[in-house]
C-alpha cells in the first residue's frame, strides 16, 4: 500500500514535464545545419526536404495525433502555394507577409472543410479527402486565367527576405528560410501536442465515444486541429512557391498527398519527428534512386515501404523507440559513460 511513488503531479505539471528537450532532439536540430557545411551543392534539395518535412508534420498532427486519415492534404499545400504565387504575381513579393496570408487562406479553407471532416472517420474520410483533393486540382486546372492552368503560374517574383537576403540560385537563403519556418512551426506543434488539447486529441484518436463520456467535445477539437494542420500545410506550400518562384499543378496532385502519407508511415505517425525523418529519408532516397534509374525509382521505394510496415509497424521511429526501450540495450547503455547515454 505504501509503495505509491513520490511526486504525483497535477495534470498541468504532468504535461509540462513531458516537454523537456532530450539531447537527441537537440542533436537532431543541430544536424539540420550540416548541409551548409557538408553538402553546399545540395541546399536546394535540403530546402525541398525541409518544406516536405513541414508538410508531413502538418499531416502528423491530424493523422498521428487525432486519427484523421487524409489522402488529400495536398489540397491545402497547393492552396497555400497558389495563394503565395498569386499575391506575388500581382505585385506583393514580400515573403513573410505572403507566407502569413497564405497560411491564413489555407487555414480558412481547412476550417470550412473541417465541418465535414469532423463528422466522419476511417474509410469515409479517405474518400472525402481524396475527392476534395481532386476537386481543388481540377478547379486550379480550369481557372487558368488565375493559376496558369497546366502551364503553371508564371511571373512569381519574390523580394529579398527581410529586404536583405535575395533568394539565390544555390539555395542558401532558401534553406535558411525553409528551415527556420519548419523549426518555428515544429515548436508550435510540439507545444500543442503536449498541451491538454493535444492529450485530448490522442484520446479521440484512441476512442472517440469514450472521450465524449469523459466530457471532451470531440468535434470541436477535431475541427480545431484540422484547421491548424491546413494552415501549416498551406505555409509549407507557400514556402515552396517562394523559394522556387513558380507554381505548377503538381502542388495539388494526388501523388503529393499519397507520397506524404507514405513518408509519415515510414517515419512513424504520432511521433512528431516521424514525418520529418520520413521526409528526409524519402526525399533523399528519391534523389538517389532517380539518379540511378530515373524510370523505375518507385520500385525501391515500394520495397522500403513494405519492409517498414512488415518489420517496423510503427515506422522507423517506432522501431527505434522499441529498440532503445529494450532491456538488453538498457543494460548495455549503463556500461557507457554518462555523457554518451543522452537523456531522453
Amino acid at each position: 500500500m505504501a509503495s505509491v511513488a513520490p511526486a504525483i503531479s497535477g495534470p498541468h505539471q504532468y504535461l509540462q514535464a513531458q516537454t523537456r528537450w532530450s539531447r537527441v532532439e537537440i542533436a537532431f536540430w543541430l544536424a539540420t545545419l550540416l548541409p551548409f557545411v557538408v553538402a553546399p551543392n545540395y541546399l536546394v534539395l535540403a530546402s525541398q526536404v525541409a518544406i516536405t518535412a513541414l508538410f508531413a508534420l502538418s499531416l502528423d498532427l491530424i493523422l498521428g495525433y487525432a486519427g484523421i486519415v487524409s489522402l488529400g492534404h495536398a489540397a491545402f499545400f497547393g492552396f497555400g502555394a497558389y495563394t503565395a504565387g498569386i499575391i506575388s504575381k500581382y505585385g506583393w513579393g514580400e515573403p513573410l507577409s505572403g507566407l502569413l496570408i497564405s497560411g491564413i487562406a489555407a487555414g480558412l479553407l481547412g476550417y470550412l472543410m473541417s465541418f465535414v471532416i469532423a463528422r466522419f472517420r476511417h474509410l469515409a474520410l479517405i474518400m472525402i479527402t481524396l475527392g476534395f483533393g481532386f476537386l481543388l486540382l481540377e478547379a486550379a486546372n480550369s481557372a487558368s486565367w488565375l493559376t496558369g492552368g497546366a502551364d503553371g503560374l508564371q511571373g512569381v517574383r519574390m523580394w529579398p527576405l527581410l529586404g536583405i537576403f535575395k533568394f539565390d540560385l544555390w539555395g542558401v537563403t532558401s534553406y535558411w528560410y525553409s528551415l527556420i519556418v519548419l523549426f518555428l512551426l515544429f515548436l508550435v506543434s510540439r507545444r500543442l501536442i503536449h498541451s491538454p488539447f493535444g492529450l485530448s486529441l490522442r484520446g479521440i484518436r484512441e476512442n472517440i465515444v469514450r472521450m465524449r463520456a469523459i466530457g471532451a467535445e470531440s468535434r470541436a477539437h477535431l475541427q480545431k486541429v484540422y484547421t491548424i494542420s491546413a494552415a501549416m500545410a498551406g505555409i509549407a506550400g507557400a514556402v515552396l512557391t517562394q523559394t522556387t518562384e513558380t507554381v505548377s499543378l503538381g502542388v495539388l496532385d494526388f501523388q503529393r498527398s499519397a507520397d506524404l502519407l507514405v513518408m509519415l508511415i515510414l517515419g512513424g505517425a504520432g511521433r512528431l519527428y516521424g514525418g520529418i525523418v520520413g521526409a528526409i529519408l524519402y526525399m533523399v532516397a528519391r534523389d538517389q534512386f532517380s539518379g540511378i534509374n530515373p524510370q523505375y525509382w518507385y520500385f525501391p521505394i515500394g520495397v522500403l515501404l513494405i519492409a517498414v510496415v512488415l518489420f517496423l509497424p510503427n515506422g522507423i521511429l517506432g522501431g527505434l523507440a522499441k529498440i532503445t526501450a529494450s532491456e538488453r540495450l538498457q543494460k548495455w547503455m549503463r556500461t557507457l559513460p554518462p555523457w554518451l547515454r543522452g537523456a531522453s
Binding site: A5, Y14, G203, A213, I214, G215, A216
Partner: protein
Amino acid sequence: MVSSLAEPLLALRNIRAGYGEAVVLDNISLELADRGSLAVLGRNGVGKSTLLLTIMGFTTLRRGNILWQGRDITALAPHRRARAGIGWVAQEREIFANLTVEENLTVAARPGRWDKRAIFELFPRIGERRANKGNQLSGGEQQMLAMARALMTNPALLLLDEPLEGLAPIIVEELAGALKRMIRDEGTAVILIEQHAGIALSLTEDAVLLERGAIVHRAKSADLMKDAATLDRYIGMKIKA
C-alpha cells in the same frame, strides 16, 4: 423510492429508448438521491447497459425525460452530461490502449476531490503501473483504470457497467472494497449493474430488477438480499453472499 423530499440527483421519467428503430427500454422511471446508490439487476439482454447508455445520452430517446439536479438534460450531448457530473465506466472498459496509465488519468482530469494522489490511494496497483501503457495492464488493472479515469472527472454520479465481470476472485474483492469506500465513505452516487447480485446488493442502498426493458421490482437492497424467491424468479440465480 427515495423517501427524501430533497430534489433527486437524477430522475428518469417514463423513458422509452433504444437504438435506431429498435426499442429496448420502455416506461422506465426512477430517481436517485444525492449520495444514493442503486443496483440494477436482471438477466442478460434486459436492457441494463442500455439504461446507462441512455443516461449518458448515447441512445435514441423516443419518449420521456431525464432530469439532472432538477434540470432537464434530455437533449444534452453526452460530453455535456459528462461535464455536468455524470461519469460512466463501460462494460468494455475502453481504456486508451496507447496512452500510459498516467495519461489515461490526466486526459480526464477535472478539478475536485479526486486527483491522482487520491486515485493511487484507492487503487495502489495502478499507481505502481503509472508509466505502463493501457494495453500492458491485466484485465483487473484495466478495470481499475477505467474506474479511476471516470473518477478523475470528479463525477457526482458514477455509472458502473459490470465492473467485476470476468475478474479473478482476489481482484473482485479488491475492487469491491474500493467501490465500498467510494460509495460509503466518499459519498459518490452510484448506479451499479452487476452479475454478482450478492456483492451489488451489499454495496448499494436501493435496487431495481429489470426484465424485458421494464422495471419489474423495486426494493431496498438489504431486503432484496433476503428475498430469495424474487431474486430466483428474475435473475434465476442463487445468491452467494
